[in-house]
């Protein structure tokens, strides 16, 4: 399994040179923030109203930027038939999946690290429970990436696979998006963390179940 993690290092190396995925994710995410900050400019004077709408804005940034990343993550493997070469290596096939999850998750984290301060500036919002917001964003992003990588592997060889990915991914990731948005919204409104525990628990369970299932079925997903 550890040998297989070289695939994640290889992806990071390629991305650090090409910067194709990361730049498009960051630009897209910042663009959404700017558009919403202009659209909601009337609400920004009221902190409570800001908190109500902005968790949605944040998650729109993360999800759509993440979808861009997921769209490209298996493209490097399909190009030149590299996926076949990986499948022939003496590594468990789900280590390919694990590497892709690590790679996209790291990209999403970087995008989030850039997006959150920009969000704070554009929406004039001071984070009070930043650690808990961070935990919710980590759990939500992980769940999204876990499902996304599986769907991405599934559709990559399909005709119009890039169109198919969001169509399949967004409904399947709703169970993670709903508690993530609701917990983030509660935290931004300053609610007590214990009142949001049910959403956070749901996120943890979703992450665990989908990760376990994806690790089990990935082998069949990449089978010809």
């Amino acid at each position: 399994m550890l040998k297989g993690l070289n695939i994640a290092f290889k992806d990071l190396k390629i991305e650090s040179r090409a910067r194709e995925i990361f730049i498009s994710m960051v630009v897209f995410s910042l663009l959404i923030l700017i558009i919403f900050s202009i659209a909601f400019s009337d609400l920004l004077s009221s902190a409570s109203k800001t908190a109500t709408v902005t968790s949605g804005v944040l998650w729109i940034c993360f999800i759509f930027a993440g979808t861009l990343g997921l769209n490209r993550t298996f493209a490097t493997e399909v190009q030149n038939g590299c996926m076949d070469a990986l499948k022939m290596c003496p590594i468990p096939r789900n280590s390919i999946y694990l590497s892709k999850v690590i790679f996209v998750f790291l990209l999403m984290l970087l995008v989030e690290i850039i997006t959150i301060p920009m969000f704070s500036v554009l929406f004039n919002y001071q984070f009070t429970a930043i650690i808990w917001v961070g935990i919710v964003i980590l759990l939500g992003s992980f769940g999204f990436v876990v499902v996304g990588c599986l769907i991405s592997a599934l559709v990559i060889r399909a005709r119009a696979g890039e169109m198919l990915l969001p169509v399949l991914l967004l409904p399947l990731s709703l169970p993670v998006i709903i508690p993530a948005v609701s917990a983030t919204s509660g935290l931004l409104r300053g609610e007590d963390i214990f009142s949001l525990m049910s959403s956070i628990r749901l996120l943890v369970v979703y992450d665990f179940v989908f990760f376990a299932v994806s690790m089990l079925v990935f082998e069949y997903v990449v089978e010809d």
């Binding site: 040998k3 070289n6 390629i14 590299c82 076949d84 070469a85 022939m88 003496p90 089978e223």
Partner: protein
Amino acid sequence: MATIIYSMMGETVLVAEDIFRDYGCLHALNGINLCVEEGEFIAIIGPNGAGKSTLLKIVASLTSPTKGTLQIFGTKDKDREDVQDRIGMLSHETFLYDNLTARENLLFFGKLYGMEHAALDERCDYLIRKVGLWKRAEDPVKNFSRGMKQRLSLARAIIHDPSLLLLDEPYTGLDMNASSLMENLLVEKSGMTKIMVTHDMDKAFRLCNRLLIMEAGNIVHDVVANDPNARKFAEAVCFSDGGQFKC
């Protein structure tokens, strides 16, 4: 009816029994029986759609047979991970990452095959020299010509020194020089068992010692290359389907 010849050259590398492979209603392979011994260089020839590449993909464990059993180095399908490091494959696709350099590509695949750092470095240097890419070792593969990519691809396929090398139309898109260099490199690896799918009948007869002639998912002839009837069999099958075969 297939003529079956089992040469006795050493360890049995591959035994396929009654292999079927269906894609929906299309029967790509219809009960393939095959035994390959160590050191053989086998060419699989036949018209398009005969099932040559499907058979090679099954041997490479890139796809599973619908029915039948396949043993490679005495290991059955479900335990294939144990013998994967004894198999290499060179395809008409390069299996290379365009944004990595020649050396990085070899190092990456070497690591996946579990090679030790020092041995891998040494092996990379040796192979890069061998395929004539020493001066371009640090260049990204995207700047390479088709012939250079294919030579590097051969180095990638044998980075872990496999006992069985699978070749799926390895000469596609190569000019005469690149083709001849590739041929020399393949001939040099005389102890390695090689199975090559090709449309080039001359190369098949020149390089290989055994020919499997396939048609409609069956091996219709299994002959040694110097059999006086081999070319007649091959031409009869390969030209039967609208002359798709390149001579």
